[in-house]
Amino acid sequence: MVKEAASGTTSLVSRQIVVEGEISGEENLHVDGRVKGSIRLAGDLFVGANGVVEAEVEARNIVIQGVLTGKVLARVQLEVQTAGCFNGESTAGSYEIRDGAVFEGISKMLNRSRRPGKLQPIVSPPETQK
C-alpha cells in the first residue's frame, strides 16, 4: 500500500509536545502530541491515537487514528481509522473510512475525471490474435 510511505524519514511530534504554528517539509509526520496551525508535507501525515491536530493540512496521504479538525487536502488518500475522528472539510484523491470512524463535514474528490457512471467493463476485451 502507498499509505505507509516506505521512503523518506518520518518526523515525530511526541505525546507531550505541543506545536502552534506552521510545519512544512519534504517528509512524513507522525503526530502523537498536539499541533495547531498548518501542516504542509510532501509526504504523509499520520495522526496517532493520542494525536490532536487542529490545522489546515496538505499531505500526500492522511491517516487519522486520533483527532483531526480543519480543512485538509490529501493528494492521494484520506483514511479515518476505527478510533479516528475527522471534523472539517476535506479534499482527497480517495477515501477510506473504517467502521467506527467519525467523519463529520464536507468531502470532495480531488480527481473529477473519476465520476460515477463511467464504469469499467467487467469482462476484459478479447485478446488480439497474432
Binding site: L12, S14, Q16, I17, V18, G21, E22, I23, E26, L29
Partner: protein, 178 residues
C-alpha cells in the same frame, strides 16, 4: 475549540538529563517548524526551527539544524546553527560543529573546541545546587579569542566574540566589524 486550552499536568521527572519516562520527538532535516513548541519530553531537531521553543525536557539541535528565536529547555545540546537566545534550566553544551549567535543563560555550560559562539553568557547558579560542582574557573568579563573551549564546571559571565583567523579553512565570511 478548547482542544488546546488545557495544559498537560505532565509530572516531569526531576534531576539528571536521563528522563527515561518521556519519549523523544524528532523533527527531520527536511522539516521546518515556525511558531511555538511547548510541552514535555525530549526533542531532537535536525531541520529548521523558527520562533519559540519552551520544552520541559532535553533539546538536541543536530548538525543540520538551524534555529532562530527563543529556546528554552532543561538541557540544550547544540551541534547546529542557532541565532537567538538559549536558556537552560540545567545545562547547555555546544558541540564542535555548533554555531551560536546570541545569548546563553544557564547554570552550567560546556563548549568543545571548534564551536563558534558570539554573544553573551549568563551563568546563574540554582539557589542550592548539590549536584553542581564547585567552579574550577570563574571568569567575568569579555573574551575575544578565535577559538574557545570550556569544560563543564567552569563559571563564566560576560561576552564572547570569536574572530576566526582570516585563512581559516572553515572560517565563515567575516562580519563587517573588523
Amino acid at each position: 475549540m478548547g482542544l488546546f486550552s488545557k495544559t498537560e499536568p505532565g509530572p516531569a521527572p526531576q534531576g539528571g538529563s536521563q528522563r527515561t519516562g518521556s519519549e523523544s520527538g524528532f523533527f527531520g532535516a527536511k522539516l521546518g517548524v515556525k511558531g511555538k513548541i511547548s510541552g514535555g519530553g525530549n526533542l531532537i531537531v535536525m531541520g529548521r526551527l523558527e520562533g519559540e521553543c519552551d520544552l520541559n525536557g532535553d533539546l538536541v539541535l543536530a548538525p543540520s539544524a538551524a534555529a532562530t528565536g527563543e529556546i528554552k529547555a532543561v538541557t540544550i545540546t547544540v551541534s547546529g546553527n542557532v541565532t537567538g537566545n538559549l536558556a537552560a534550566r540545567e545545562r547547555v553544551h555546544l558541540e564542535k560543529t555548533a554555531v551560536v549567535n546570541g545569548r546563553i543563560a544557564t547554570p552550567r555550560l560546556s563548549m568543545v573546541d571548534g564551536a563558534d559562539f558570539n554573544g553573551e553568557v549568563e551563568m546563574k547558579k540554582p539557589p542550592e545546587g548539590p549536584s553542581a560542582p564547585e567552579p574550577s574557573a570563574d571568569v567575568s568579563g569579555r573574551i575575544a579569542p578565535p577559538r574557545l573551549s570550556m569544560v563543564d564546571g567552569a563559571d563564566f559571565n560576560g561576552e564572547v566574540e570569536m574572530k576566526k583567523p582570516p585563512e581559516g579553512p572553515s572560517a565563515p565570511k567575516p562580519s563587517g566589524k573588523k
